[in-house]
Amino acid sequence: MLAAVGVSSVEELFADIPRDVRFQGGLQIPSALTEAELLRYFGALAERNRHVETRPSLLGAGVYRHFVPAVVDAVISRAEFSTAYTPYQPEASQGTLQAIFEFQSMMCALAGLDVANASLYDGASAAAEAALLCASSSGRGRLLVSRAVHPEYREVLKTYTISGELKVEEIGLDEGLTSLSALGDMLGSDVAGVIVQDPNFFGIVEASEELAKRVHDAGAALVVLNNDLSAYGLLKRPGQWGADVAAGEAAATGLPPSLGGPFAGFIAVRDAFTKRLPGRLVGVTSDGQGRRGFCLTLQTREQHIRREKATSNICTNQSLCALAVTVYLTALGPQGLREVAGASARRARYLMQGFEKAGLRRRFSSPFYHEFVMRADDPGAVNEALAREGIVGGYPLGKAYPELADCLLFCATETLTRGDVDAAVKAVAAARHKVGVQ
């Protein structure tokens, strides 16, 4: 091959690299391992983590564990899906394209909205993209985000708007819910969008037609975030109570917790916002013989055509993760999703009632889905008591909400058995004197 190329050595191929910047010596990385050695090395690293596949965990806070049936991994492990590129050549990518179209349709169904894209990086960047969409479609410069939105999503939104062209302000809370009176004081004709989460970060059902009405009366768009779509197997879907945009994280329905990634962000909108959507969109079309086919469409929104005038800089999305979600939702179906949601909500109530009997106090009284806030004089001691029984405890709220420094956020889904919950309650009750509850 060197002869065909017309060089006598491989080094000659790199002759265009100026001498001054040519790298000398060897790369300082560990030497190569064989496959068997790799399994040993990575196996040992994995062993050094305490995973929650078999260990009961009461952690939620944006990352939820639902049982994922075997068909999901069977489908996403198919190399025809996992090793394909973005479907820019539609005739050679009908499988990926049709699967994305099915994902879009399912996101529309769960959001109760008209159009969904092919996925975004994660819930946090989806929230930021939703905010930017409100601003660009209205020309307004203020965004109001509820403090009951996931703290990390709010941090990411802040980072995305560092340049100061958009002003992001936080709406205060009233008993764990977005404060309607604070919202009323902040709304004005310069507000592009109001961003809430449902169920919110404390697990509380935030859906409120009154809230939607106030937002719309001010001419702003309502963005509803979510990070466990199973909720919509049981609860009102965002479009049903006034959302213009629904966005968030679809990973809870189909992917393992994965230390938080790769996940599957989603965004869905009312028709009027279609042309401002970020990222890829798949539409139906036909070939020369009238057969139905699918292709990427409305690409004039995107960076590879519009460059600095694009609606977003996003190129890569999370196709394979979106496929996992599509397969999960297909496997569950509408009835299965309702059963999972119902079981999760019941398990969470069972846990909450047990904790109350063990002496912890419920912090907010509003209805919740599968996550709730409990108070203890020493929340650290509660988690330590749980850890001693091999149970991963709740999320300490103090760091993100200083006023809730004595609170823990607990989650239960259908993956916890009744026995797991009983053990958790027993552990907390036994440590009663230590956690300082009455």
Binding site: L39, V63, L337
Partner: protein, 480 residues
């Protein structure tokens, strides 16, 4: 395998079930406090076999690396080793909750810490953040860091310089970070035009974004001079790592004077593209820029690993710790190759590209007649005179069983065909692809109709993309 496949919504029947959740052990608990929505969302109702048959058939309607050669320029479609999938699926990685304590996550933190060190060694940078979820996300992260850096120094710099050959994400990321984009033209050899560059440099320039080797597949010969010019004017140099696969062990962005870089783990480090993601786009920084990296970073104290924030961190760019299982795959690949292996990856990538170039340069026209790195750009100018365009050649290749190269990019090359074979292809595959390209060139000359109707042998023939955009149908609706 060219039968039409119905939508999953068109398969199945009301009430048909696939997975049945176990009976609710807490069924006696009341949900009366919740306003339960009476209607259910419209989702498919199918059996397990319906489901598998549907998605397996869909998979047959795809080209992929494991079924077809994929010489897609700028995308680095190399083979994705199976061992990466094994490690990423280990319970001790896949089933970690990001809010578990640092003590519960020591193995994961160690992996990320070691991956960061390896990236620093390969790129010649001081620190990396592993948070960004993709290349474009990395670009945006780096530019937000540049903005914070200049704000910190009290300098007002508003412009980002970008060569006209750059990927579209560069200008759109710059815009998202609140900068003004200034395009710099390329010269006749595909380098940045130095005279044009000089006219744009002033104290308003925050950063020059450069892909090197460029998207034209050539190494920027004036890199030393460029970095001098930018740095003398107080600006920063940003490296788009899309083409790192060409230079591992031969050149490092840090040694070339780049202050900020992003690397696409889904290109150079073999994590599967997944039909368009997930990827990962870690960002590296040198010198003072390190203080502006997003949160969190990972540090090692007395053998224990913990999360920490940079001094002037720009904050978070993504929730949690990035696309962690992609990081596991990429680190597996690095450990499988080691220093010599990675150098050999780049050598074979460049050799394969130059070999294909040598076989195709007579039948097609080379956009830049010089040594290629890991990819090269042809133009179908000659074929266009016969009415055969780059798009037609791309579609005809599909009939030969090859995925098409990238076409119409870079934008500055007329009828561009951009070929990147990667190091994982054998000479036989390269020869077979070359033969197909040569046959298409002959047909374009003597019998253009042979090329124009393609593809003929796929599940669908050429699709009406204009019609799809004119009357957008973007979701399935229950027939009324």
């Amino acid at each position: 395998m060219t039968f039409a496949e119905p939508l999953i919504f068109e398969v199945g029947a009301p009430g048909r079930r696939c997975v049945q959740p176990p009976p609710d052990e807490t069924a006696e608990i009341s949900l009366d406090d919740l306003a339960v929505e009476p209607t259910l969302p419209v989702l498919p109702e199918v059996s397990e076999l319906d489901l598998l048959r549907h998605f397996t058939r869909l998979s047959h309607r795809n080209f992929s690396i494991e079924t077809h050669f994929y010489p897609l320029g700028s995308c680095t479609m190399k083979y994705n080793p199976k061992i990466n999938e094994r490690t990423a699926r280990m319970s001790g990685f896949a089933h970690l909750h990001p809010y578990q304590s640092e003590a519960d996550l020591q193995g994961a933190l160690e992996l990320m810490y070691e991956l960061e060190r390896a990236l620093c060694a390969i790129a010649g940078m001081d620190r990396f953040t592993l948070q960004p979820a993709a290349g474009a996300h990395g670009e945006m992260t780096a530019l937000l860091m540049a903005r914070a850096y200049f704000d910190h120094k009290g300098e007002r710099r508003t412009k980002i310089l970008i060569p006209d050959s750059a990927h579209g994400t560069n200008p759109s990321s710059a815009r998202l970070a609140g900068f003004k984009v200034v395009q710099v033209k390329s010269d006749a050899r595909g380098n940045v035009d130095l005279e044009a560059l000089k006219t744009h440099i002033d104290n308003e320039v925050a950063c020059l974004m450069l892909t090197n080797p460029s998207t034209l597949g050539v190494f920027e010969e004036n890199i030393v001079e460029i970095q001098r010019l930018i740095h003398e004017a107080g600006g920063l140099l940003y490296y788009d790592g899309a083409n790192l696969n060409a230079t591992m062990g031969y050149a490092r962005p840090g040694d070339m004077g780049f202050d900020l870089v992003h690397i696409n783990l889904h290109k150079t480090f073999s994590t599967p593209h997944g039909g368009g993601g997930p990827g990962a786009g870690p960002v590296g920084a040198r010198g003072e820029l390190v203080d502006f990296l997003p949160s969190p970073l990972i540090e090692k104290n007395d053998g224990a690993f913990r999360f920490a924030d940079a001094k002037h961190s720009i904050g978070r760019v993504r929730s949690f710790f990035g696309n962690f299982l992609i990081l596991v795959r990429a680190y597996t690949y690095m450990r499988a190759h080691g220093p010599e292996g990675l150098k050999s990856v780049s050598e074979h990538a460049v050799l394969n590209a130059n070999y294909l170039l040598s076989r195709l340069k007579e039948a097609y026209t080379l956009a830049y007649d010089r040594r290629a790195m890991h990819e090269f750009v042809l133009t179908a100018k000659r074929q266009k005179e016969k009415g055969v365009r780059a798009l037609d050649i791309a579609k005809k290749l599909l009939d030969y069983g090859f995925h098409a190269p990238t076409v119409y990019f870079p934008l500055i090359v007329e009828e561009a065909i951009m070929v990147e074979p990667t190091e994982t292809e054998s000479r036989q595959t390269l020869d077979a692809f070359a033969e197909a390209m040569l046959a298409i060139a002959r047909d374009a000359e003597s019998d253009p109709q042979q090329v124009l109707g393609a593809p003929r042998g796929l599940p669908v023939t050429r699709l009406d993309e204009v019609g799809a955009a004119r009357n957008p149908v973007l979701r399935w609706e229950t027939p009324s």
